[in-house]
């Protein structure tokens, strides 16, 4: 009898140990892995690489569209990102504004299509690529202000954290999982509050309550992202 009791106690202990271990470790890889979304067909096959891609050092005139990009700032077109919750698609007038002066590509099929929309005064029905569920309130402005302006990090790096390496894509495609655990994994990290050259932060509250900015081991002030459910869900 004692054998059985001992055995069952042993089993229970094993179960408790293994389940708490698995609950503890399984998360990291689960949420940070890249998760390539489906390819999306857009009304115009917009070449992000051509616009935002790196210049070809061997081609200073940048004449060969296949070889290099123009390093246009993401926020030149997605201008709403620093002002509001959505990054937005630029109004057609912005596309035309440049392209009416670029004679070299004026007769290419894509640009012809673009001008067709413009002449019909019809908005291009772009499809959403990064479409969060309706109950998630992601705010571009705060992330841009926090990381581009205050931390003075390169725009493409900051945008790329969620949107992937768009400068290498033609039509954008989702690269990150965008699942909640993935978002949270970043919010739980310590981020440097400010860097020299970045926008000064004033007496700003980085925290909501419990997670106040603290000094890390290197003596740099760091803070975590908001971690209330109602920061993003309401």
């Amino acid at each position: 009898m004692h054998r059985f009791i001992r055995f069952s106690i042993l089993l229970m202990g094993l179960f408790a140990a293994s389940s708490s271990f698995s609950a503890d470790v399984a998360l990291e890889p689960l949420t940070t892995a890249d998760d390539l979304g489906p390819a999306i067909e857009q009304p115009i096959e917009f070449p992000h690489n051509r616009h935002a891609g790196l210049r070809n050092p061997n081609d200073p005139s940048n004449s060969d569209p296949l070889k290099g990009g123009m390093e246009i700032d993401c926020m030149y077109c997605h201008t709403y990102a620093r002002r509001g919750s959505v990054a937005g698609i630029p109004p057609l007038q912005k596309c035309i504004g440049c392209h009416q002066n670029i004679e070299s590509v004026r007769e290419t099929p894509r640009i012809k299509k673009l001008f067709e929309y413009w002449e019909a005064k019809k908005a291009v029905p772009w499809k959403k690529v990064h479409d969060l569920p309706d109950f998630v309130r992601f705010n571009h402005e705060r992330h841009i202000k926090r990381f581009v302006f205050q931390q003075n990090r390169p725009v493409q790096e900051v945008c790329g954290a969620c949107h992937g390496d768009v400068k290498t894509m033609t039509v954008a495609r989702r690269q990150k999982s965008l699942a909640m655990g993935w978002c949270v994994s970043c919010h739980e990290k310590d981020h440097v509050v400010s860097v020299p050259g970045g926008m000064p932060v004033g007496s700003q509250a980085y925290w909501y309550g419990f997670k106040k900015p603290a000094l890390n081991s290197a003596g740099v002030e760091v803070a975590k992202g908001p971690n209330d459910c109602s920061s993003c869900h309401y």
């Binding site: 069952s8 698995s22 399984a26 949420t31 699942a179 655990g181 993935w182 949270v184 994994s185």
Partner: protein, 459 residues
């Protein structure tokens, strides 16, 4: 009167019990089809409610829980019968339980499965029920370990798995008998697998006894905790009429009570349907009835304790609820509960009725009706008459959808039970044999000592 004849041959026991697994009578099919129909009513209601919304149940704000939760507690309560008979009485060496504990255990399992359904159908977003399970997930979230509802889910799940295990372990020797007596078909395969190679060696028997005893020991605190936790769904809340310290024992007593009543009902039905008169004898019934009566009185006492503690406390809101129960729109049901739960069992005190099958059948059904009403009277009146007078709402009545699902649950339970009875021996053969053996030993002893007495007397 003997509770079992000691001269039943073991072969006859095997034969009688195994017969119940074979060629069903027409009556069996009638019951199964009836149960299917009843169950399909419940399924239909759930499909309707799932598609349209919980509103069709005629629940409202603040009346957010209704018959689903009441019936859920009812079924959880029913499940305590098996544990009581097999585990508690097993530890107390009350061997009269032996012919009847198997189906009582089956009842435990099936009523838990029925109760689980009510937790499901009562959720507003059934399709998202897995949020309440603790498992590592993509969102990095855990359920709220503070919530009694979560304890509830865990307790029920544990209880269900343990009682299935208990049922199965207790059945192994019988499954081996089945395996050895049935020679072909899917049954053979099933029993072969389930019997786990049982051969009846001494070592197997020894291990079997210890395992069975261990699980029984494990199950008893579980049974008590399960209903205490269900009680804490209410007792841990802040609402008048729910926030009662004595709820856990009250719920456990109520559970044992309804479980015993249900055993009487099923005892009578099985005895008749499967012709188990020789094993499910009237003396055993009598013992069960007496046990039921005792528990009924405990329950009545706990009821009185609850009323008194509310009455003499300064908790005006709780007192209001109590007065409302006794005089408001719920009065007929509340008094019905008192009548069925505390007055009707008095019949069981009379010897004459303790073996009267028709009376017992009606009585046991009434007792269970009373217990079901009790659960409803715990859930509903608090909503009607809570802390906030503006939201008092006395005309909420469950819609046909709620009633339909309550009705359907009986079909589901019956269906499971009927299938069980045809697949597994519903009387424990090896334990009955044991009992017969013990009885014959005892009577031999009695004969020996009796004859000695007479010899002495002769001197």
């Amino acid at each position: 009167m003997k509770d079992i004849r000691e001269d039943i041959a073991w072969a006859k026991i095997n034969k009688d019990v195994l017969k119940s697994l074979e060629s069903p009578r027409n009556l069996y099919w009638v019951i199964v089809i009836g149960a299917l129909l009843v169950f399909s009513v419940g399924v239909g209601c759930e499909i309707y409610q799932y598609n349209v919304g919980m509103g069709v149940a005629n629940l409202d704000n603040p009346h957010v829980w209704g018959l689903y939760i009441a019936t859920f507690i009812f079924w959880i309560g029913m499940s305590h019968s098996g544990t009581l008979l097999s585990a508690i009485l097993h530890l107390m060496h009350a061997d009269w339980r032996k012919p009847i504990y198997r189906f009582a255990e089956a009842m435990t399992t099936f009523s838990l499965m029925t109760a689980g359904l009510f937790v499901m159908v009562h959720l507003g977003r059934l399709w998202q029920f897995y949020y309440s399970l603790p498992y590592p997930n993509d969102r990095g979230l855990w359920p709220n370990f503070q919530s009694p509802l979560l304890w509830d889910a865990m307790a029920i799940f544990t209880y269900l798995s343990s009682s299935i295990l208990f049922l199965f372990v207790g059945m192994i020797p019988d499954l081996a008998i089945c395996r050895d007596n049935i020679h072909s078909g899917w049954r053979k395969k099933l029993y072969t697998v389930l019997a786990l190679g049982w051969e009846g060696t001494d070592r197997q028997w020894r291990n079997f006894r210890v395992t069975y005893l261990t699980i029984a020991c494990f199950l008893i605190p579980l049974a008590v905790s399960v209903h205490s936790i269900v009680a804490s769904d209410f007792a841990m809340s802040q609402q008048p009429g729910w926030h009662v310290t004595s709820f856990p024992p009250y719920f456990v007593a109520g559970a044992l009570y309804s479980g015993c009543a249900a055993i009487i009902t099923l005892f009578i039905i099985l005895r008749y349907v499967f012709k188990f008169e020789e094993y499910m004898t009237l003396p055993i019934l009598k013992k069960t009835v007496r046990l039921t009566f005792a528990i009924a009185m405990v329950w009545t006492y706990l009821n009185a304790v609850e009323f008194a503690s509310v009455w003499y406390s300064h908790d005006i809101a709780s007192k209001d609820v109590l007065i409302q129960k006794a005089t408001g729109p719920y009065a007929p049901y509340w008094w019905g509960m008192i009548f069925c739960g505390s007055v009707v069992p008095l019949i069981l005190a009379f010897k004459r009725f303790q073996t009267n099958i028709p009376v017992l059948l009606v009585t046991s059904l009434l007792l269970n009706l009373g217990m079901w009403l009790e659960r409803w009277m715990i859930v509903a009146p608090t909503y009607s008459h809570g802390y906030y007078p503006w939201t008092w709402d006395h005309d909420q009545f469950p819609s046909w959808v709620q009633w339909g699902m309550v009705f359907g649950s009986f079909g589901w339970f019956t269906l499971l039970f009927m299938v069980f009875c045809k697949v597994f021996p519903s009387v424990s053969m090896y334990e009955v044999k044991e009992m017969v053996y013990h009885r014959s030993l005892a009577s031999k002893k009695l004969e020996v000592s009796g004859s000695q007495e007479s010899v002495e007397g002769a001197h």
